[in-house]
Each structure stands twice: as structure tokens, then as C-alpha cells.
Symmetry: C2
DNA sequence: TAGATTGTTAATCGATTAACAATC
DNA sequence: TAGATTGTTAATCGATTAACAATC
């Protein structure tokens, strides 16, 4: 299938479809229609259909999409097929939570190691190592790391960010609650909890106001 | 200032302004213009100006906004002034990270306690308690909790969600990587890491392709 | 006064939705 | 064939950007 440019809005919906498709039972019906997908996720069916048409051409009238092919098409489109190696800086609770979470592999992300000013002695062999900050540069260069995850406190985030860029990293996943200044060719994806909180908080305000 | 309805896009940008404004040094200039804010955050200045105009009327030509008033106006608009009590279900690493993170108070969120099938014995008094699941209902009712945070594995998320709604919870912050079905009057804010990963992954794909 | 900045009104842009033809 | 579903083309909607008047 020919590769098309998609908008950010579409890009953000694709993983939602993907995770739902993956959650469907193996022994269920092998086909799924855009309509069924839309209903299950509470979305507009036209929107879903249009999104799917962008990444797959396996849709057949009256039948829908073959589930496995659709999963494969979306995965491939999102680049989840060739896994990305990443490193994480800041092995606090959040950092360790991300490091220990096994679910990222399904999304093509493989966190190789964490770095921290207080490295932990490697306990068992199958756990991912928490290395001292001094080894950051060498590790990134050796493993040609392109993605860095920042889970340090806000006040250290910018300097860690600068250091990652100096190591050749091109994409940064930022969990620190602070804006990072970066050159144009570097992408920062800010995991902005404050944003989510604002939406939730506003909903509750309206709820409470309505009650009065 | 009269309360206006704002779009979700605006709502998501407001906390970004707020956190930047808060990060400015106390002893710096007490005024800040929409232009300065836009430049610092790499955003369009017209957009910032329009957003600010929605939540504050303290802007003065040639001078800009008085920083402290602006912080107050945004905070008030977002409802951060009257703190929301929340509980968290699932005290794994991620759950504990959120529970232990002190930064949410600044956003009007106060996590009172966590619940887990394996509750921890309360160690020190100043730490937030991790209680057994059985106490969930009573706790929510007693404290009139309106917000719940879900950090359990995906396969338990829906049942936890249903239980929270039965407890009278109106807003759910979902960290489990799965879609939750809820009634219309309940808001689910899905902290979708997969979405962020998709954006990052796509950026890297383009980077790599450009190099070839 | 001149210049910087605000806030508003109009124009553009992009994304979503609706309508419909094509297909199995 | 009839009906369900796809995919495309056109219309609507909303958000962003541009232009400009108002103000200190």
C-alpha cells in the first residue's frame, strides 16, 4: 500500500484502533467492519472508515477488514514493525515504572537501559540496568540511540535534554512538567499530565455547577 | 471576569501557559506579554493572546499581563483553586509514582489514598495509605470522591472502572492501555502513551527515511 | 506623540461530517 | 437481486491565522 501523509489527528487515533483490535479474542470472527470498530470505541463511523482507508486497502464491502491484516497494516504504518531502541534518564518511581512496563514492545519501543545519578546495582540478569550518568554518552553512541525518555525532576530536565541531543538523540519523550527548548529537527513529545488534569477538572466543575 | 466556554484545544493549552508562568523567577519583571509567552513556548503569538483574553481581562497595552494576576486567573478558570480529592486504584510502580508525586497539588488535585488487592502496611504517617480494595466503596462515599485514577493492568481496568462509577465517581483518569466503556455523564481521560509513541515513532521514521 | 501591545473582526485553513456512488 | 459496507466527493464546522482598530 502506498504511503500517505496523515494528519496528527489521524496519527493519534490509529494506536487506539490498534489496541482495540489486539484486544479482540483470537477465536472470534476474523473480520471487523469500520462500523463495528466505531461503535465499540464510541467514535464516528465515517471518521473510522476514512482513517482506516488511509492505512489499509484490505477493506471489502459487506465484510469489512480482515482483523489480522488490519493490525499488520496499522502496525506497519506506525513503524511498530522495526523496533526503536530508547534510553531513559531518571530512575525514580516513574522512571522505574516505565522501565519495568513490558507493554511498550507491542508498540515498537524497546527501552534498553536507564541512567541516573544514583545507579542501582544490577540485581538480576533479566532486569534492565540502571547505569550511572557518566556512561550516557558512550552508551548512546555505541547503540545508536535515537529516542530518549526524560523522567527527571523539572529543574534538571532541560540540561538532560541538551545532553541527550548532544548524544545524537532525535526524539524525546518528556515526562517532566516543564517546556523544553530544542532545535527544529528534534521532536519533543510532552506527556502532559497537567493537560489531562485540566480536562478532568473542567468536567467536574461543570458537573458540580449543574447540581446547584 | 465573566466565565466563557472554551474549546478543548484552548483548555489544553492553558496549563502549559500556567506552568511556564509559575516557573518564572519571582524576582524578575512582574509583567509578561502574550508575545513574550508565545516566544518562550514556541507558539503563535496571536493564539496565545486570544487564549489569554478568554480567561483574563488584566492585559494592558504596551505592558502586558501582571504575572501573578495571570497565574491566578488561569488557575481559577481551570478550577485549580478548589482542590479536587481523588483516589487511585492499582498501587503498582506507576500507581505509587503518581501517589508519591507532590506536584499535582499545584494543579488542584489531591490524591487521598490508593487501593490495591495487595495493600501495603502503612509505614510512616506522612505517606499516603494503600488500602485494601474492600474499603473502596466506604471510603469514596465518606469522602465524597468524584475523581478516580486507574493504574491497574489492562485486563482489570473495566471492572475497576464500573466499580468506581458505582461509588459515585464522575471523572476517571485512565492509565490502563485499554478503552473503557462508560455512561454519557462520566468523563474518561485516557492518558494514552501509545498515542505519544505513535507521534514519536513517526518522527523517527521520517528522520531515518530522509537520511537515506 | 510614537510605538508596543491588547483585543476584535474577518479570512483562511484543516478536519469532520454528510451524501452518494461503487462493490461484493 | 437486495443489502451491507467500502471509499470518495462535496458541504459543514471549528479552529487558527491575519488584519486592524483601540489603548496606554
Amino acid at each position: 500500500m502506498e504511503r500517505k501523509d496523515v494528519s496528527k489527528s489521524v496519527l493519534k487515533r490509529l494506536p487506539v484502533y490498534l489496541s482495540y483490535l489486539r484486544s479482540l479474542p483470537e477465536n472470534g470472527t476474523p473480520y471487523i467492519s469500520a462500523t463495528a470498530l466505531a461503535n465499540a470505541l464510541g467514535m464516528g463511523e465515517v471518521q473510522v472508515r476514512k482513517d482506516l482507508a488511509l492505512v489499509s486497502d484490505g477493506g471489502r464491502p459487506k465484510i469489512g477488514y480482515f482483523r489480522e491484516s488490519l493490525i499488520e497494516d496499522i502496525s506497519q504504518f506506525l513503524g511498530y514493525d522495526n523496533t526503536t531502541d530508547a534510553i531513559l534518564v531518571g530512575a525514580g518511581k516513574l522512571g522505574q515504572a516505565l522501565l519495568g512496563y513490558g507493554g511498550f514492545e507491542a508498540y515498537g519501543l524497546n527501552i534498553l537501559a536507564a541512567f541516573d545519578v544514583n545507579p542501582a546495582p544490577t540485581e538480576t540478569q533479566d532486569e534492565k540496568p540502571i547505569l550511572p550518568m557518566e556512561e550516557l554518552e558512550a552508551f548512546c553512541r555505541t547503540n545508536q540511540i535515537l529516542m530518549g525518555i526524560i523522567t527527571v525532576p523539572a529543574q534538571y530536565a532541560q540540561q538532560v535534554c541538551d545532553r541527550l541531543i548532544a548524544c545524537g538523540i532525535k526524539a524525546i519523550w518528556n515526562f517532566a512538567p516543564i517546556h523544553l527548548d530544542v532545535p527544529d529537527n528534534i521532536l519533543v513529545q510532552h506527556e502532559n499530565m497537567a493537560t489531562s488534569l485540566a480536562v478532568l477538572s473542567m468536567h467536574l466543575q461543570v458537573q458540580i455547577k449543574d447540581k446547584k
